[in-house]
Every structure is written in C-alpha cells, then in structure tokens.
C-alpha cells in the first residue's frame, strides 16, 4: 500500500494508522487524567480517584467477559481477595502497604488460579452459576471468620498506616495519582495484551471456541490465563480500594459487587480497552446525580441500561468503534 500523497513513505502518519492510534489514545487518556486533576473541583477529583480504582476492577472483568467471552458472576471474590489480602496483614499484623499490596495481588492470583481451574470445567450458564456460587462461598467465609475480618462491619485501615515511602496516601492529590498510576498501568497492560498473540487468541476463543481449538490453540490454558489475569487485576483494584479509602468489609464480597463490573462493562463497551472506564464514569455519575433527584435512582440506572442495550447494544465505546473509530482496540 502506498502512503497518501504528501506523506513520507518511510514514516507512518502518526495518529492515523492503527499502530499509532491505540498508544496515542491510551496515552492521551492518561495525560488527560493528569491535566484534569488540576482543573476539577475537589469533589470530582475525589470521585475520579475512586472511579479509576473501580475502572481497574471493570477492566479486569472485561478481560474475561469482553475479550474471552466468559461471563462470570463471581468477580467480587477476586476483588475481595485483593482487599483482604492487603487489609488483613495491615490490620492484624501491622504490615506496611507495599508488601501488603503484593500480598493482595498474590492472594487474588492464587484464588483466581484455583477458581479458574475448577470453574473452567464448565461453560456457558454453568460457568456463571459456578462462579456465583464460589463468590457466595467467599462472602460467607468472610463472615465465618468474623473474629478476624469483623464480618459485615469490616475494619478500618488507619490513616497513619497508609503511607508509602513517606507519601501519605490519604492526601487527596497523592490518592489521585496513586489511583491514576494503577489505572494507567492496567490500561496500558490491557492495550498491549489484546494486541499480543495471547490476546488475539482470547478473542478467537470468544468468537468461535471450536475453531480456535481446531486451529491448534490450547483453549483451556488460554482461558485459565484469562481468568488469572482478570482475577489478579480485579484483586489489584480491591487492594487499592482498601489502601486508598481505608476500609475493607464483606459488602465488597457480596453478589452486588459481582454484578457491578458487568454493568460497567456492558454500559461502556465490552471488548474495548476504554469501555470499562467510560462505563464506570457513566454509572457513577448517573447514580450520583439521580440520587439527588429521587430515591428510586436505581430505576433510572436500570432505564438507562435498558435504553443503552436497545440503542447501543455494544456499549458506548462499542458504538464509537462501530460508527467512528473502527481501529479502537
């Protein structure tokens, strides 16, 4: 293919070829989030820090649901694994945040590997039910060990303990940039991952699992890899939430928190890198604004979901990709 008139044949038009558009988009989002921090009022800065952490959870979910086509109803288990993997060592043993965060990641990794190994023996509706049941078992386990976890009440991670290398994570700016760092790393990781042969194989499995198997791909190994990456990223979000907002509780292991990332991803656009973030922002502000108008705000959220499902079945980013940005990863 010859380059467009007026462009060097040796240098691709930066920003106009898929190879460069994707990095530009993701770098632009991260840069935009840096800039917006200095513009937004305090309230929205706080919201955005929380949204970025939750968007990491949604991005983790999206790897399994959006790219691999596996609908899990038990991701709260992975979020909670990260949350308690960080929270309990800090709360009970006085661990410092850095090793505790690694503990959260390791816990989520192990839990997702075990759950993946067991749940992937099923598929379709059975996979949904099995993941739901495992998550419910996890929720009840948190309650069962209430002596340590304080069950439904949960526990506080004290302000004084939330310092990393002299940086106070309870300071609004530090919290924002800590959330942005995690969000940026995960966003770039996913943008890279979906372009790798592994990521493309996940999409192939989503589109036609039998064909992928016939082509010689180890479908089970790829699915297990997806569960582990998805679960660990969800766990990173759980650990970050506990660390940045100072609380861990059983509510985050409940079924409600398994449904939320599904909604965020559906709204934002499953199988797109930026969809989970868009969906999380949309849902957060929809509830925040609607709750100021009526106590039936979940009805409004439900209505929005129905309308989007009808008029934008691929979610907001999915529609963007369909109409304007076919290169959107």
């Amino acid at each position: 293919m010859s380059p467009p008139a007026g462009e060097s044949p040796h240098w691709p038009a930066v920003g106009r070829t898929p190879r460069f558009r994707s990095p530009l988009l993701h770098a632009g989002i991260i840069l935009g989030l840096i800039v917006i921090h200095f513009i937004l009022p305090e309230y929205h800065n706080g919201n955005l820090a929380r949204i970025m952490v939750l968007a990491v959870y949604a991005m983790g979910y999206n790897i399994l649901f959006g790219y691999t086509g596996l609908l899990s109803l038990g991701h709260a288990l992975f979020f909670a694994a990260g949350m308690y993997g960080l929270g309990l060592p800090m709360h009970l043993l006085g661990a410092t945040p850095a090793p505790a965060f690694l503990g959260g990641l390791a816990t989520a990794l192990v839990v997702s590997a075990v759950i993946g190994f067991l749940a992937l023996r099923t598929s379709g509706v059975a996979f949904m039910i099995v993941t739901l049941m495992f998550a419910q078992a996890g929720f009840l386990t948190v309650l069962l060990f209430g002596e340590y976890t304080r069950g439904d009440e949960g526990f506080v991670i004290q302000q004084a303990a939330r310092q990393v290398a002299g940086i106070d994570l309870t300071d609004p700016s530090n919290r924002y940039f800590a959330a942005l760092t995690l969000f940026g790393v995960c966003l770039l990781l996913i943008a890279w991952l979906v372009q790798t042969p592994f990521g493309r194989c996940l999409v192939a499995i989503r589109e036609n699992e039998e064909r992928a198997r016939l082509l010689g791909y180890d479908v089970l190994a790829h699915k297990l890899g997806a569960v582990i990456i998805s679960g660990t990223m969800s766990g990173a979000a759980g650990a970050a939430y506990a660390l940045l907002f100072g609380y861990a509780g059983a509510t985050f292991a409940s079924v409600q928190y398994s449904i939320l990332p599904l909604l965020w991803v559906l709204l934002g656009g499953a199988g797109t890198t930026i969809g989970p973030f868009i969906g999380t922002v949309f849902m957060f502000y929809l509830i925040d604004l609607a709750s100021g108008v009526t106590s039936a705000y979940m009805l409004i959220a439900g209505l929005a979901l129905v309308l989007l499902t009808i008029f934008a079945p691929q979610g907001l980013a999915g529609e963007l990709r369909r109409r304007l940005m076919s290169w959107l990863p």
């Binding site: 069950g151 439904d152 949960g154 506080v156």
Partner: protein, 431 residues
C-alpha cells in the same frame, strides 16, 4: 515619617491625598463588607444527613428522616443555631459502605456541609468514618454500634445521641438472670452485630452466675428458621433473640410456631421487631415475653411531658405508629438518637461559638467537654452521660413485657449499669 504621621493624626480637618483615597475606599467597600458579614451570619448551618433510604436499612431510614426533619424544625422554630437556620441536606447511602463514603465526600466537598450526621448501620459508619477523618468533617453517627467507643475510628467521629450495643447488652444480664432464668440459649445473626450480642451478653450473664447453654448463629442470607430451633436445648430457661433485616417477621413467627403454647421465657431485642406491629397475626405467642427497648414504643402510664411533646413533633401516636397511618410502625427504640444528636450539635455549636468549617475542631472539643445531659425535651429518652474520651454516650435502658398486645416497661436500668471501662481516648489524637 513618624513625625508626619503623628502630626496629621493630631490635626483634625487636615487630610492627605493618600488618606482621603483610603477613607473613600473604605467607605465605598463598607456596604459590600456589611452585606458579606450579613450573608455569613444568616447563611444556614448545613447538616449533611446520611440516610438509609434504600437497602436493608430503609425502614430505619424512613423514620430517621422524619425524626431529623422534626428536630431541625424545632431548632429553627427556636431561632436556629447561633442565629442561623439549620438546613438538612439528605443523601441516600443505599445502606452501603462504599456509597456511604462517597456521600460523606459529597457533604464535605460539594455541599459544603458543616457536619455529617445520621448513619445507623455499622458497616456504613465504619466505611465512611475514615473519609470523614481525612476530610476533617465532624461525623455524628446514630448507629448504636460499639465501633466508636472501641477506638477503631477517629477523633472526627462521635456518637453522642444513642447508646452503644455493648452497654445495652451488658446491662441486660442482671435482669435476665434474676427474673427470667440463668440458662440461656442465644439466637443471633451470624455477622458482627450478632457476634457483639453473643460476646457481650455471654460475659454479662456469666457475671451473674448464669450460662449460655447454646449459641445459634443464623446465616445472614437465611429466610427460613425452623430448622435451627431443634438445637435449643431442653433445659433452656430463656431464649435470647436478636435479628435484623427483612426476614425478622418470618423469624419471630416461626419461633412461635415451633414452641406453640409452652415455651421458655423469651427475651429479645426490639431490633427483631422494629417497624413491625407486635399485634400482627402470628405474633400472639409473644404475649408475656420480654424485650429490650432503647426507648419505649408505647406511651407509658407515667409518660413524661418530654415524651408527649417529642411524639407529637415526630408524628407518632401512643402506640408508636405514625399519626397519619396506624399501620406505619416507627423505629421508636432507635430514631430518638437523631433528635438527641441534633440537640447535642446545637449545644456544641453554641458553646464553641461555631461560625463555619474553621471551627470544626472547636465544635468537637465542645462536645467532648460535655458530661451530664439531663432528661429534657432535648433528651426525651432520658438523662445521659457523655464520655468525651470515647466519644460515646451512656444512658438508661428499658426492658418491656408484652401485655395485651402492647409493651409495658417493667424495668429501667441505671446509667451506672451500662458503663464499662474506656477502650480508647480520642482526645489524645491530633485534629
């Protein structure tokens, strides 16, 4: 320079050009400054009300809402706080700790509230309190959880309007052991609230020479309870129950069906029946059973003028139901905490000369300095003692017996019965 200045100062009628401009500028700006001062002084005191309008706490939230509005109306009718009206800014927290923390942030950074107030469910308090501490906004909770006094929260979180579960439960042991029996089977929800009951009551009854012969924990997701009741030992003298949530009515009905006409003494926390009419079909077996009440739901024979006025203000009849709908039963044992807390806030703001967010620390110090809170219309539930070190209030507890379909008070504890050793000292924390 000094000489010149002194000289002009002593020469009335003479004025330098600079001084004239300065004076004109001052005069010109006076109306603006005056207007600003006026605006400051008449600007409402904004109280962020974190309310459970949806979720498991909705029944409580509805009545917390009504009580809060009534208390704010009374304060405003009496001239407000420091001459400023009180404005209640309510936000639903969905009885969810994540949303609760978001709501506290919204109060502090968007609504510019002076304080946050009102939370009941413990997990919402514990999830929200860290943000209140970081945002340095006083957070007055009406939760009855032991979380405040246990020391796990922070200096910005206080519970001056309602007693905590530890003091309530521990005060029950002597009466139960002396009047109902010493072999107790406990039935409680298998989460932190239930575990608090299990642990504090077990210790209390053992101090009275009694024992808990069986502890039956009910999983929080349970909807059918009969299968648990065969675990009640035959030598049980007292069944102690406490349940919360939407399944409470089913629980109590199934308990009645299990025992039939002959049962051991039954002692429950009214939490099992808050917002539920005890004359509901299927609850007849409760006749003769006992309940802890934070505040007696039914107007008693010796009803005080304070209780009469409080009921009228919040719109509750003598049976504890809404004046407008006798089937709409209140959460009378808990909701008074909103009324009393707002009166504490008023007293604290007046004592500290509160003018705005810069005085938040002074407000907390003023509340910490409070001790005796006499029985009055500000505190219609009864006299109380506030412990500024633990940020927790202590007060009388009531034990009532179901008699012809209403609850009659048979015992009132002293405040001393409810006290326990301090577990923390928040005043040692910096603001």
């Amino acid at each position: 320079m000094l000489d010149n200045r002194s000289r002009t100062g002593h020469l009335p009628g003479t004025m330098t050009r600079r001084r004239a401009i300065g004076t004109l500028a001052a005069v010109g700006s006076l109306p603006l400054a005056a207007r600003f001062a006026q605006a400051q002084s008449s600007e409402p005191i904004r109280i962020g009300f974190q309310v459970h309008r949806t979720g498991i706490g909705a029944a409580y939230g509805r009545w917390y809402d009504r009580t809060t509005e009534a208390a704010a109306r009374r304060i405003n009718d009496a001239g407000g706080i420091n001459g400023r009206p009180v404005e209640i800014i309510a936000e639903d927290d969905g009885t969810d700790p994540k949303r609760g923390a978001e709501v506290v942030e919204k109060f502090a950074t968007q609504h510019n509230c002076d304080i946050a107030f009102g939370t009941l469910f413990s997990h919402v308090v514990i999830g929200s309190a860290p943000r209140a501490g970081e945002l340095k906004i006083p957070y007055f909770v009406v939760s009855e959880g032991h979380h405040v006094a246990s020391g796990i929260l922070n200096r910005y979180t206080l519970q001056p309007g309602i007693t905590d579960v530890k003091s309530q439960v521990e005060a029950m042991g002597p009466y139960v052991a002396e009047n109902l029996g010493k072999k107790v089977t406990m039935i409680f929800p298998d989460f932190a609230f239930g575990h608090d009951h299990r642990d504090y009551f077990s210790a209390s009854i053992e101090r009275q020479g009694g024992t808990v012969v069986e502890k039956i924990a009910i999983p929080p997701t349970e909807t059918a309870f009969t299968k648990y009741f065969p675990r009640i030992p035959q030598d049980t003298e007292v069944v102690y129950h406490v349940m919360v949530g939407p399944a409470v009515l089913t629980f109590v009905k199934e308990l009645g069906e299990f025992f039939g006409p002959s049962s051991p003494e039954i002692f429950g926390f009214i939490d099992s029946l808050e917002a539920v009419d005890i004359t509901s079909p299927g609850l007849e077996f409760l006749e003769g059973s006992y309940f802890w009440e934070g505040y007696p739901r039914y107007a008693q024979a010796d009803q005080t003028e304070y209780d009469k006025a409080y009921r009228a203000a919040v719109g509750v009849d003598d049976n504890g139901a809404a004046l407008s709908d006798s089937k709409d039963v209140s959460t009378y044992a808990h909701m008074f905490g909103c009324w009393e807390t707002l009166n504490i806030v008023k007293a604290g703001m007046e004592a500290s000369g509160y003018a705005g967010p810069d005085d938040r620390a002074a407000l907390i110090e003023a509340v910490e300095a409070m001790t005796d809170l006499p029985h009055s219309l500000d505190h219609p539930q009864g006299a109380k003692v506030f412990n500024g070190r633990t940020h927790q209030v202590f007060g009388h507890q009531y034990i009532s017996r179901v008699n012809e379909g209403r609850l009659d008070v048979v015992h009132t504890t002293s405040i001393e019965d409810t006290l326990y050793e301090d577990e923390t000292d928040y005043t040692a924390q910096a603001f």
